[in-house]
């Protein structure tokens, strides 16, 4: 098989695939083609789509390869699809970040970091399949330990968990400027 044929077949398979397509799955279909050749062909395809500024791009996500729309076209795609995209609230995002970096983690452990009850948020995340129970912790009550799912990787365009942005060291943390509104405080003098 010519290299161009392989590339063409891969592109077709990527188009019909319902989720990220793994090298292994491609190998099962394209019997006899070496893994390395599959990988380099995918890289080529990725570069071609990128360089010719095509409307679909090939991204490596959640352990596989997937065709996704180009970010520059986001507004047009949204206009076409209509509807409101589900916005992720602050609480959801923070809880998800804690789970992503500290998994497997229990509800109570998340609560001790956030300082608030997270029951509702956890249920939302479970409903959206962004997290799942992965085991139970060997402590009284045997609480569930939660971890992230492949859907989490897909949502945040991550190849795998090692590609999470590095968590800042405690010493590096500086507080960013708050654009927040003034709070109606009584100043110290008034009290």
């Amino acid at each position: 098989m010519e290299r161009e044929d392989i590339k063409s077949i891969i592109e077709s398979l990527l188009f019909v695939a319902d989720g990220p397509l793994t090298i292994q799955r491609l190998g099962e279909v394209l019997e006899g083609v070496e893994r390395e050749d599959l990988r380099s062909t995918l890289d080529e395809l990725q570069a071609e789509l990128e360089n010719s500024r095509r409307g679909v791009r090939l991204v490596e996500v959640a352990g596989g390869y997937q065709l996704r729309t180009a970010k520059v076209n986001a507004d047009w795609v949204k206009k076409f699809l209509g509807g409101r995209p589900a916005r992720m609230g602050r609480a959801t995002l923070e809880t998800l970040a804690i789970i992503a970096y500290r998994q497997p983690i229990t509800r109570a452990e998340i609560e001790s970091i956030r300082g608030v009850d997270v029951d509702g948020v956890i249920n939302t995340l479970l409903d959206r399949s962004l997290i799942r129970a992965v085991a139970r912790k060997d402590v009284p009550g045997r609480p569930f330990l939660y971890g992230t799912t492949p859907e989490f990787l897909q949502l945040f365009n991550l190849k795998d968990l090692t590609h999470l942005p590095t968590l800042k060291e405690m010493e590096e943390i500086t507080l960013p400027e708050m654009p927040g509104e003034e709070l109606p405080f009584k100043s110290a003098e008034e009290c």
């Binding site: 996704r68 970040a97 956030r114 009850d117 991550l158 942005p165 509104e181």
Partner: protein, 256 residues
């Protein structure tokens, strides 16, 4: 005269404290505890005035702040056991604030990525949502209970009193069900109970199934409203054994 009050909605007491620290332009590691406590309490008061629900955790933090403030007023004990006494009373709070800030930063970083269904899209499927297989609808709890009743009604109406001790654990039932799904892919709800002869076993099997739904190892579907209920493995099935393995055997044991 109208007073415009703008209140940000704080995620929690730590969030509020971080806000106050930023607003006062003070260092997180050297919090002027008296000032911050005062402003913290003032904010709670405002929240209460406007009937905002001040959750318990805000009050716990208020108590913590007051406690730290009072400890700061005490002279530092400089005797030998300065493990306890000599440490800055603010230390634990600072640690918590820094850790929380760390995850707030991480959340910001995640949000800046190319988000699926916000920045980028895939062909017709939105992976963030659980998409049922075409033509399938998710089964409601009531439909499940109706189906369970059918199974129970089918059991032989035994009038003979048999005495036997049979241990069926939910864990066993869970692994059994997962094994079945692994080999058959999809199974009918009713076939789950094909070889079940006692009420207790039906109940344990049913609970095992519910537990697997809860941990998202399986999904339950129906092709049409009155059609047969089907069970299939969810994406997370490979992790289900880990969940089972951790299941406390004693607590799920049932005998008949």
């Amino acid at each position: 005269m109208t007073t415009r009050v703008q209140l940000e909605i704080f995620e929690g007491p730590l969030d509020l404290l971080l806000h106050l620290i930023k607003k006062n332009e003070v260092s997180i590691t050297d919090i002027p505890i008296a000032t911050i406590t005062e402003q913290y309490l003032a904010t709670l008061e405002v929240m209460q005035t406007f009937n905002l629900d001040v959750a318990g955790e805000f009050l716990v933090m208020a108590a913590t702040l007051i406690h730290i403030k009072s400890r700061m007023l005490l002279p530092m004990a400089d005797d030998e056991d300065d493990e306890e006494e000599g440490t800055d009373p603010r230390q634990e709070l600072v640690r918590r604030l820094l850790e929380y800030q760390r995850f707030k930063d991480a959340a910001d970083q995640l949000e800046r990525r190319e988000l699926l269904t916000r920045d980028v899209f895939v062909r017709s499927v939105a992976p963030a949502e659980e998409i049922p297989a075409p033509g399938f609808r998710e089964v409601s709890v009531f439909e499940l209970l109706t189906a369970l009743k059918r199974v129970l009604d089918r059991l032989p109406k035994d009038v003979v009193h048999e005495v036997m001790l049979e241990k069926i654990t939910m864990r066993e039932k869970m692994s059994l069900l997962l094994d079945q799904l692994r080999t058959q892919g999809k199974i009918l709800f009713e076939s789950l109970f094909a070889e079940v002869t006692t009420r207790m076993e039906v109940v344990v099997t049913f609970l095992a199934m519910l537990e697997l739904v809860k941990v998202r190892a399986i999904r339950i579907f129906q092709e049409e409203a009155t059609g047969p209920i089907q069970i299939e493995a969810a994406a997370g099935i490979e992790n289900a054994p880990a969940v089972l393995a951790m299941q406390d055997p004693e607590e799920d044991q049932h005998g008949t």
